[in-house]
């Protein structure tokens, strides 16, 4: 019974999520909002605003600086977690 309930909840959640996917723009559509506003802004202004010739680096480290900061924090956390699991003090 419990397992059946879990499967039913999962299927219901899947239906809700698929409902949301319906509203997304088609894949690769040049007229979707992300292509019309976000990408041209980065393509046109990233060099003059940051002085970095590599657009990917400009987005990664400047426009999305928070993202990269916490990616680094995630790696740090992973290292500490491995340490906590594996580390044994000397007997």
């Amino acid at each position: 019974m419990k397992k059946f309930l879990g499967v039913a909840i999962a299927i219901a959640a899947l239906m809700v999520l698929l409902q949301g996917v319906e509203d997304l723009p088609p894949w690769g559509d040049p007229n979707q909002p992300a292509s019309l506003h976000v990408s041209p802004r980065y393509i046109e202004k990233s060099l003059t605003e940051t002085g970095v010739p590599n657009m990917v680096t400009a987005v990664l480290a400047d426009y999305r600086g928070y993202d990269t900061l916490f990616e680094t924090a995630v790696i740090f956390t992973a290292g500490v977690a491995v340490l906590m699991i594996l580390r044994r003090s000397a007997p």
Partner: protein, 155 residues
């Protein structure tokens, strides 16, 4: 666990290869601005050179260079550099991680200050990635017994 084994071919090749790998890791970091690369990739290459050393040589010798204290210090140092640059921008009157404000303390304009701010935070990323890789490797290979002399258990 790695058994200590002398192999002149592997040791010579590694001795020649490791400096080039480290220079290449720094190149990937420094050229993250102009070509594919950056802190994550450069840190992995850098860590690979440090991992090659215990594989080719002696684990004890490598562990003397990478004490647990030192690896953990470097793990946190990278995140500290990154967040520290963010806080520095905050102290200079900008938003968090708004590198343009670094032009107040750097002898360059706001645009080039962003360029150098990105270079500094990528260095922080590289230090963290390198130290975490080395730390995970040493902990796996010694089964968590970091500071013991591993050779005694095999001879």
């Amino acid at each position: 666990m790695i058994r200590h084994q002398e192999d002149i071919i592997i040791q010579t090749i590694c001795r020649m290869l490791i400096p080039f790998m480290q220079v290449y890791g720094l190149y990937v970091l420094a050229h993250g601005h102009g070509s594919p690369g950056g802190g994550f990739q450069g840190g992995c290459i850098f860590a690979a050179s440090f991992i090659l050393m215990p594989i080719a040589y002696d684990l004890d010798k490598a562990k003397r260079r990478f004490t647990e204290r030192r690896t953990i210090l470097f793990c946190s140092l990278g995140v500290f550099i990154y967040a520290g640059v963010g806080w520095l921008c905050l102290l200079l009157g900008g938003n968090f991680l708004d590198y343009g404000k670094l032009s107040a303390i750097l002898p360059v304009g706001p645009v080039m200050a962003r360029y150098y701010g990105i270079a500094v935070i990528e260095t922080g990323v590289q230090i963290t990635v390198m130290a975490v890789m080395v730390s995970i490797f040493i902990n796996l290979i010694t089964s968590g017994r970091h500071e013991e002399e591993m050779r005694n258990t095999h001879d």
